[in-house]
Amino acid sequence: MYSGYLALVLNAHLPFVRQPEYPRFLEERWLFEALSETYLPLLRVFRRLEADNVPWKLTMSLSPTLCAMLSDQLLAERYRSYLELQVELAAKECARVGDDPVFGPLAQLYEGLYRANWADFEDLYGRDVLSAFDYHYKRGRLELITSAATHAFLPLYRDCPEAISAQIETAIVAHRRAFGKHPAGFWLPQLGWYPGIDATLRAYNIQYSVVTTRGALLGEPTPRMGSFAPVATPAGLVAFIRDAAATESVCSELTGYPADPVYRDFYRDIGFDLPLDYIAPYIEEGGVRIFTGFKYWAVTGRTDQKRPYDAEAAGLRADEHAALFLKERHAAACRASAALDRPALMVCPYDAELFGHWWFEGPLWLESLFRRAAAEPGLKLATLGEYHRLYPESQVSEPEFSSWSDGGYAEVWLDGANDWIYRHVFKAIERMTELAERFPNETGLRERILNQAAREVLLMMSSDWPLLMRAGKSGAFARGRIEDAVSNFDRIYEMLSSNTVGTEWITRLEKRDNVFPDINYRVFRKKR
């Protein structure tokens, strides 16, 4: 008998940043860095676990925009170019510090990382990273779920049911295209829940999602089992509840595991440390310094005097932290189980990009956790779907409007830095619904135009843009993405209203914003 179940959930997501009109584009590096430091290393962890017959279980949301970028040929070609440069830089670094007993092995570590990425991406997966995830999905160790089409923060759109449905339906179609299956689970972007979203998700045959502890405990009525069991909403959706303590252990920037002094420091990077004439080919044009991914220093503490990174010590610490995580969860499960009529469930949802990109040792921690969980009694790993099949009955409760952001509601996405966008986004949604109602049966060129209009509306709804504007990172890019999408939509709206069509322009736009090839603009029609 197990004292509890542990359900790890990773949300892998990046906004659609493809910029074909430029030969190189800074924000496309978000994808390349995540591939290099998170997605490919995670897949290597999965392969090692499988080779050793470790019964690992993981639920993972691959967002529709991420799936679109991972299956895009242009971005694949650009990632190859990025890897070529990274391998070249690694070789230069090995030559530069190879004889140094401290830094030489670190340069070799990065050379090994980028060579392994090259081999996996080009040779093993044939540039098809989605198929690698699909392999584990089909084998039952990995459960893939989907998320809103462009990761829109859904509570802000609750009064626009057409926009909510468009986000959900387009996501499901994209998931089926990528993996050939209907997703049973749905990751709510930013864990943004509002009462009523459950009925819409159920209408699309989604069975479960995840909510914050705060949103669940403020639900009506209060969940009797706290966060140790999911609740069933009035519409019949199962809402799994995030485990607050497990979140703090991993995510807290200050007291979480990644802040351990032994781990690799995220900020100190040779892109900022080395002379410009040496590093120039590997940073932005014009000598704009950026992160290169080559980082030789440890977190150390609150000081600028960093200690050199010791990969072996960090690996051991990741294993210790995996053991500690399991010990703490096991203890919590034992305490909770005394008051439960079933084993306690602890749901641990994290952003996938935390593992490897920010917390360099994250994939090792995950691997160690899976190996230890398999070897030790006490906790059993489960995917959300498995748990739901084992315990289909849950207390009925409706979680409160909530998110996992600052403040716990919509503060991040509705702020003085970004609130101006909503006037334009809501207008576009309203007009898109109007177009879908006016032209319900279009074919040929007009259908293509309407589909592109729908793409532009979904793209402007992405929660990443207001987040970036508020965070003050890539603000101009985020603002530009929204203004571009609104301008494109407005032009299409005017074209259709005046019955004039710019074929050449629309073809160019289709090639540029080519996300969701199977989109159906009718998803924006009013629900009757």
Binding site: L26, W30, E33, L156, Q190, R214, L217, L218, R224, M225, G226, F228, A244, A245, T247, C251, E253, L254, T255, D260, F266, F272, F291, G301, R302, R335, A339, L340, Y350, D351, E353, H357, W358, E400, F401, S402, W404, D406, G407, G408, Y409, A410, E411, L414, D415, A417, D419, W420, Y422, R423, L467, R470, A471, G472, K473, S474, G475, A476, R479, E483
Partner: protein, 235 residues
């Protein structure tokens, strides 16, 4: 990090935590002072990062870190083409930000704007209407004067777990005319309506183990009429 969590740590663990945070503390310092130093550092960090409870959001930002440069405020503002863009319609939309604040934006069509001027001494205002439980009839309301140049406003809402409607109105003399009204807003609750101890012992314990104390959603002590406001900013 709560006071209860501090109590559960040994002296060694407290010192290890302080060391991890880069705090240089003299050996043999009393626990209470070690805890105080840690709390102070946590608070400082909290101010820097807005809130330690929002860790996932800050982690979320990390994946967008190609450089360590921050955008200027101006880079996030609407460009000239968008700053004053309107759609020539009389409308108002309101969005709930948190239990204390809603954001409203509005516009007035040219035709209505002309009427506004034709009315002579007319003024605009927002009426914040609290709706009854059915969500249809007004229970009470208050007005916020606005100028013709205003186009958006953050509105402090008096009650959590209530429903509101925001109206854009024109006042001319003693008469008031409705120009547009928002859909009904459902404001979320901010705290539980009872203390966890009011539940049966098992549920109370499970809520405690779920981290209830650290969530800040328990109601204020009886007799304290003050509502705990979130950290929202209004205009």
């Amino acid at each position: 990090m709560t006071s209860e969590k501090f109590e559960s740590l040994s002296d060694e663990e407290l010192y290890a935590l302080a060391d991890k945070m880069g705090l240089d503390l003299p050996p043999g310092l009393a626990r209470v002072f070690v805890a105080e130093e840690i709390l102070e550092a946590l608070e400082e960090d909290s101010l820097e990062r807005r809130s330690s409870a929002s860790a996932p959001m800050h982690v979320d930002e990390k994946k967008f870190s190609c450089s360590d440069a921050l955008s200027g405020v101006d880079e996030c503002r609407a460009s000239a083409a968008f700053a004053d863009r309107r759609y020539n319609e009389t409308m108002i939309r309101a969005l709930v930000r948190d239990p204390s604040w809603a954001f409203a934006y509005w516009d007035i069509a040219e035709a209505d704007r002309s009427a506004l001027h034709a009315d002579g001494v007319a003024s605009l205002f927002l009426r914040v209407v609290e709706l009854d439980e059915g969500g249809e009839s007004a229970r009470e309301f208050f007005d916020i004067p606005i100028s013709e140049g205003d186009a958006q406003w953050y509105i402090n809402l008096p009650h959590a777990k209530a429903r509101y409607r925001i109206e854009l109105r024109l006042r001319s003399g003693s008469r008031s005319r409705l120009l547009a009204r928002s859909t009904a807003l459902s404001v979320p609750r901010q705290t539980l309506e009872f203390h966890a101890t009011a539940l049966d012992a098992r549920s109370s314990e499970l809520l405690r183990l779920s981290g209830l104390e650290g969530l800040g959603i328990e109601p204020p002590p009886a007799g304290n009429p003050l509502r705990i406001l979130s950290g929202g900013e209004g205009e």
